[in-house]
């Protein structure tokens, strides 16, 4: 069974207004998948269904053999602790230090009391510094997060995801708030992570060129439907035009699944 399997996923926030319509795909361990689509296509919603940050409507999501939709509270925490998440706005606690924010990634492994008291093992702390080192921001470890630039904060966000020992990392527009240089740094790091650590990455992007440069596989989402799913090189202009609704509309919609 694939690491992640999505079968007939539907989701609506208001009845009669489906945001996702019958989305199905599966992702093997180690893949680097980009999800592209215009704003409002449902990319963020789809990503959040994978770790049930929003409730799944209909259909199933299987992660690592577990039915995500069927988990109770405890089970859901167990699922989430193996899924890292990286956000457009980094979502750090601005008043805490970098190292504290990174260690937040360990809460899934802690009992309530250990977590509340902030009891982290020396190994966990060392791991946190290793990760900061790897992403080139170890010298900022004791700074408050709101003193860091956007690119640096995003690297903290990535460290927080990595310290979870995740099997998969979900990234929701990780570079949408960054300048081109920082964007490249972040995307390079994500690529390195997927190759060096063998961690699967699913990255929501709205830049087609970035998706094609970094991802092995691209999923094109339009109005809640998968309109392209295949290796990056096969995403031709014809499909991007259709996904983004530009130029001539392609008459017969072709769904490539390779």
């Amino acid at each position: 069974m694939a690491l992640l399997e999505v079968n007939g996923l539907m989701k609506s926030y208001q009845p009669g207004n489906p945001i996702l319509k019958d989305v199905s795909f599966s992702v093997e361990a180690g893949e680097f998948v980009a999800v592209i689509g215009p704003s409002g296509a449902g990319k963020s919603t789809m990503l959040r269904c994978l770790n049930r940050m929003v409730d799944i409507g209909e259909g199933q999501v299987f992660f690592d053999g577990k039915d995500v939709g069927a988990q109770n509270k405890k089970g859901l925490r167990d699922v989430r602790k193996h899924i890292g998440m990286v956000f457009q706005h980094y979502n750090l606690v601005p008043r805490l230090t970098v190292i504290e924010n990174v260690l937040h990634g360990r809460f899934g492994y802690k009992s309530t009391l250990q977590g509340v008291l902030g009891r982290f093992t020396e190994a966990e702390k060392r791991k946190a510094f290793d990760l900061l080192e790897k992403l080139g921001i170890a010298e900022h470890a004791y700074k408050r997060c709101d003193q860091l630039s956007g690119g640096q904060q995003q690297r903290v966000g990535i460290c927080r995801a990595l310290i979870q020992d995740p099997k998969i990392i979900l990234c929701d527009e990780p570079i949408a708030s960054l300048d081109p240089n920082s964007s490249k740094v972040i995307m390079d790091h994500l690529k390195t992570i997927s190759i060096d650590f063998g961690i699967t990455c699913i990255v929501n992007l709205h830049q087609v060129d970035v998706a094609k440069d970094y991802a092995n596989r691209i999923i094109g989402l339009k109005k809640g439907e998968v309109v392209f799913d295949g290796p990056s090189p096969l995403l031709t202009e014809r499909f991007t035009d259709e996904i983004y609704g530009m130029k001539t509309v392609v008459e017969t919609r072709e769904l490539i699944t390779v």
């Binding site: 770790n51 940050m53 925490r77 167990d78 699922v79 989430r80 602790k81 899924i83 890292g84 998440m85 956000f87 706005h89 979502n91 750090l92 606690v93 601005p94 008043r95 805490l96 504290e100 937040h104 990634g105 360990r106 809460f107 899934g108 492994y109 802690k110 309530t112 977590g115 509340v116 902030g118 709101d146 966000g157 927080r160 979870q164």
Partner: protein, 283 residues
Amino acid sequence: MQQITQQPSVIRHTRAGKINIRSGNRVSLVLRSTLWALGALTVLAFFFFDYTGFRPLQAIPETLYNLKAMFLEPKLSHFGWGEAAMQVAITLGLGALATVFGAVFAFFLALGAAENLSVPWLSKSIRVVVAFVRAVPTVLWVLIFAIAAGLGSEAAVLGMLFHSVAYLVKAFSEAFEEVDPKILEALRSTGAGWWQTVVHGVVPSTFTYLLSWTFLRFEINFSVAVAMGAAAGAGGIGFELFMASGFYFDLREVGMITYMILAIAIVLEIFSTRLKSRVYSAD
């Protein structure tokens, strides 16, 4: 420019037919008429006072004389400085006791009352109860507790505590609700539980607000404790004030005690400003 061919139907007009740019037309109308009504009532009230025995020519110099005795010639006559310091300490102690316990209770209740951290039924019930407790003045709570505890410092602290909790629950829960949902989302996505999210996400983000609200409440509780000393026999400097004014008719002592209370209030104010600037400059 693109030509507008059709007026969108969403535009609202005032009664005069002009385009309205405010959303709450009715609210502002109610507000304005309320203010007018209150103003009119205030002016009218002066015509209904009972002016018999009111001789302004005599009253003005007498009042001035009393004020002079009170504020220009203050002195203690029924107790010494050591005793005064003791009584001030008692009043501060009453205020601090009610504030500290109030803040602790309020913290937990506010977690239940904050919509982003709680479930709707719990948050609604806490809000309703707390709004009721807040609507009843502190003095009344003190008198209510006096039924069980007898008039004195116990009833005063309980009553102040009750009102402080209700006040701080509202302040704290509003601070909690201001926490950036993105922070909570990130913590939840790592598999963190509710308590972990609260302690490591909500508390660090709101700590300075909690602190300044608590201190503000302490300032309030200090003045309430003064009043309770007089009204509920809770002791402290308020009781001495009550004795000086209502029992000995010693205006000079009243003046001295007023200055002492003022001094404490100023010290508290300076302290709270310092605290705030230190906490916020760390931001």
